[in-house]
């Protein structure tokens, strides 16, 4: 528990160990709600909030919890955080909540969250733990939004449609129709489009990574975390 580099936390969370594109955790919501950018942002923000607060709570309790009850305690913490967020969304972002539906409560089952609790928050002080939650959430958001944008542009020819669900009436000015009179591209909207799109994004990330000639000392941690979560 030596000094932590916030730079490294962000680089890992957003790029090197991106939850959606490298570690490949939380794929169910990632694939299911990315029909539009607005849905993607909604789920991304809810997941990020969950990560920040669950990491914080786990970090605060790290001296108290014995190993044998660690996992059930984390599940309780995460479930409470998610339910609080669900209630707040129902009260203040009701229409968006109705669109995202079951995927908000299902954030509990996103293994990325318990993964971060176990791998990082349980071994670090509250501040770095919260920052790690933020970075991981940001990385997940980026994956969600990239996939959402890809599918919405290809599938509907629009961007930010239904933005009023999140930003109120102001959001209506955000809605862009990129291709007027677009007939739609069904494959992009349907589940296969989500899988194909995710594959393309993973490949694109790998390609960008491989172009950077900087020698990296083995990308083993990502593998290890995947193994641990499997």
């Amino acid at each position: 528990m030596s000094s932590v580099s916030y730079r490294k936390i962000f680089r890992d969370g957003v790029w090197q160990q991106n939850t959606g594109l490298v570690v490949l955790l939380g794929l169910c919501p990632l694939l299911a709600v990315t029909g539009t950018v607005v849905n993607a942002i909604g789920l991304g923000l809810a997941t990020t909030l969950t990560l920040v607060f669950s990491n914080l709570a786990v970090s605060l309790s790290r001296g108290l919890l014995r190993p044998e009850i660690r996992i059930p305690a984390y599940v309780l913490i995460i479930a409470s955080v998610v339910t609080v967020i669900q209630l707040l969304m129902q009260a203040w972002l009701h229409d968006l909540y109705r669109v995202l539906g079951i995927f908000i409560p299902l954030i509990v089952t996103n293994c990325a969250i318990i993964g971060r609790a176990e791998a990082f928050a349980s071994r670090h002080a509250p501040l770095p733990a919260a920052v790690d939650g933020l970075a991981t959430g940001l990385g997940f958001c980026i994956a969600l939004i990239a996939l959402g944008a890809l599918r919405e542009i290809l599938g509907h020819g629009t961007l930010f449609s239904q933005a009023h669900l999140m930003f109120g009436e102001l959001g209506r000015v955000l809605q862009l129709t990129l291709v007027p009179e677009y007939r739609g591209f069904l494959l992009a909207i349907l589940p296969p489009g989500a899988f194909i799109g995710l594959g393309l994004l993973v490949a694109a990330r790998q390609w960008l990574d491989s172009r950077k000639p900087r020698p990296r000392p083995a990308a083993a941690p990502a593998e290890a975390q995947r193994e641990a979560a499997a």
Binding site: S61, R66, L76, V84, Q90, A91, H94, G184, L186, L190
Partner: protein, 217 residues
């Protein structure tokens, strides 16, 4: 096996403390949000109802003047239908049924159908469905105008044997690339009309039911 009992008890206690803290937080947040959530849900229902029957046409509290009915001959699939009763100065104006079409392409299609006292449809809207995006989802009002074709229709308009989609020799268009979805909706709306025709007087006079609404979807 070598674990000492007091150690197990302490672990259990710790876990219980975590659970109590979680529960306390949740009940706190629930207290803070319950009223607002209930209000939001009422708003959603009113917005839905407004689409099939403009609020200007009635003056009673539609959300509380409602009953539930079941009739497997008209509403198959074991559904419980909520009926809202619109009145003006105490006189019946219209009924709004929250029912489902059970023979869609993928799961139930949830419908809201408004019928005025003369038996004419004041509007039909889909409030939830799992039909194919880009094909069957043309029944949504945001995707196409198809569902608006019901407004003003009644039993006998079109004639009884033409209450079907065009492919089945009826008067209603199908959607491009989708016949099953519109067929299901036409069938369900027709059944709702026939049910209202047979039961109208009874539906208006039955005392209103209280309690929370089962579903707004």
């Amino acid at each position: 096996m070598t674990e000492r009992p007091d150690r197990i008890w302490r672990s259990a206690l710790l876990l219980a403390v975590v659970a109590v803290i979680g529960t306390a937080t949740l009940s706190g947040v629930h207290e803070l949000t319950a009223e607002r959530i209930a209000e939001q849900e009422r708003r959603v229902v009113l917005e839905q109802l407004e689409q099939v029957l403009p609020a200007a046409r009635y003056d009673n509290a539609l959300l509380t003047d409602r009953i539930t009915v079941t009739d497997t001959a008209y509403f198959p699939g074991g559904q419980t239908v909520t009926v809202y009763r619109a009145r003006r100065a105490g006189e019946p104006v219209a009924l709004i049924l929250r029912h489902r079409a059970v023979n869609g392409y993928n799961g139930d299609i949830r419908l809201l159908t408004g019928v005025d006292v003369d038996g004419r449809i004041t509007g039909v809207r889909v409030t939830g469905h799992g039909e194919t995006p880009g094909l069957g989802d043309g029944i949504e009002v945001g995707k196409s105008d198809w569902i608006l074709g019901f407004t003003g229709r009644a039993l006998g308009d079109p004639p009884e044997d033409r209450w079907a989609v065009r492919r089945d020799g009826g008067a209603f268009d199908q959607l491009t690339g989708a016949t099953i979805t519109p067929r299901a909706v036409v069938g369900a709306v027709h059944a709702a009309l026939r049910y209202v025709e047979r039961n109208r007087a009874r539906l208006f006079t039955r005392p209103a039911e209280t309690g929370a609404e089962s579903s707004t979807r």
